[in-house]
Amino acid sequence: MTAQPPPARPNLTHGQLFAGFFQAGIMGFGGVLPIIRRLLVDDRRWLTQVEFNELFSLCQSLPGANVVNLSFAFGAREAGVTGAASAVLGLLSAPVAIVLGLVWLYGKYGALPPVRHALLGLAATAAGLALGSGLRIATPILKLPRNIALAAAVYGLAFGLHLSLPLIVLLTLPVSLLLAWRAVP
């Protein structure tokens, strides 16, 4: 194991963490990841690109919303439990407030015909976004035969048979772990 050189900069304060992640949250339309990468790596230089990739790939291989996990992990590294809280509250406070406002508006005006029609169009487009980004995520994964078989099984259990998510993971993860264990060097 090689020793890592100590970080060149002092740990970030709670205020810096909150402000940085607040900016990423409020600017993160249609996906926070590119914004948060630019902010952490290019603008504030809190992480190098390599450090960012490492942290993000770790967060991706763990369950949960990826950028939220990244905020927890980065905040905790910088300033412990309260650092994690500062980063996560920074990331989520403005978006949550905005979404709560939208739900209130939905309750008040959602039934009006023009609003309803716009929402139906919005929903169809968002379904297309989910399909497009799902295909973007899935196509590189579906190059290996074992991945195709497993993904098809998961898809069938979830969309065809409506099994619960805990059950799906319980049924497929052991098989997937075994196959990966044998394949990954």
Partner: protein, 174 residues
């Protein structure tokens, strides 16, 4: 709104937190199955609209749980939902990231990552199909979905423009 309802929201999303393989979208089929199919908190059409609202707002797409929580149990419901959804996974991520500094190239990590990829792929495609079935009720909505999916998949067009165009098309033609 009752304490019981807040409890149900907490249990539902708290349980899903550690099952969100590869991101929040993986839990969309399960959230729809429970909130629409089992608990009847919202209709299928509303679910696809709420997903759209969460997408149109800034921030991570895990916000779908705040939209549902707030619809079911007001502001408190929205806050409880997001806390339940991010805390278990986030705490686990923070602890593992702190430990991980010590063994960064461990084999177990590559194995874990490789084993989760196909499950993520299956779940995000199932999520997309759930949403498509809920949202597409006619030829125009189906066309909107198809065009958006192709543009997103092939060109990476910015979601905000696509959503704006979709809302406008709905306003004018639906």
């Amino acid at each position: 709104m009752s304490l019981n309802l807040l409890g149900q929201i907490t249990v539902l999303f708290g349980k899903l937190s550690l099952l969100a393989v590869g991101g929040a979208n993986s839990t969309v089929p399960e959230i729809a199955r429970i909130t629409v199919g089992e608990k009847h908190w919202l209709s299928a059409s509303q679910f696809s609209q709420f997903y759209a609202i969460a997408n149109a707002a800034p921030g991570p797409n895990v916000l779908i749980v705040t939209v549902i929580g707030a619809h079911v149990a007001g502001v408190l419901g929205g806050l409880v939902a997001i806390a339940a959804m991010v805390l278990p996974a986030g705490i686990a991520a923070a602890i593992i990231a702190l430990m991980f500094d010590k063994h960064r190239e461990a084999r177990w990590r590559r194995v874990a990552q490789a084993s989760l990829l196909p499950i993520t792929a299956g779940l995000v495609l199932a999520a997309a199909c759930v949403l498509v079935r809920q949202a597409d009720t006619g030829w125009l909505t189906a066309a909107l979905t198809l065009v958006t999916a192709l543009l997103t998949w092939r060109t990476g067009a910015h979601p905000l423009w696509l959503l704006g165009a979709g809302a406008l098309a709905g306003l004018l033609f639906l």
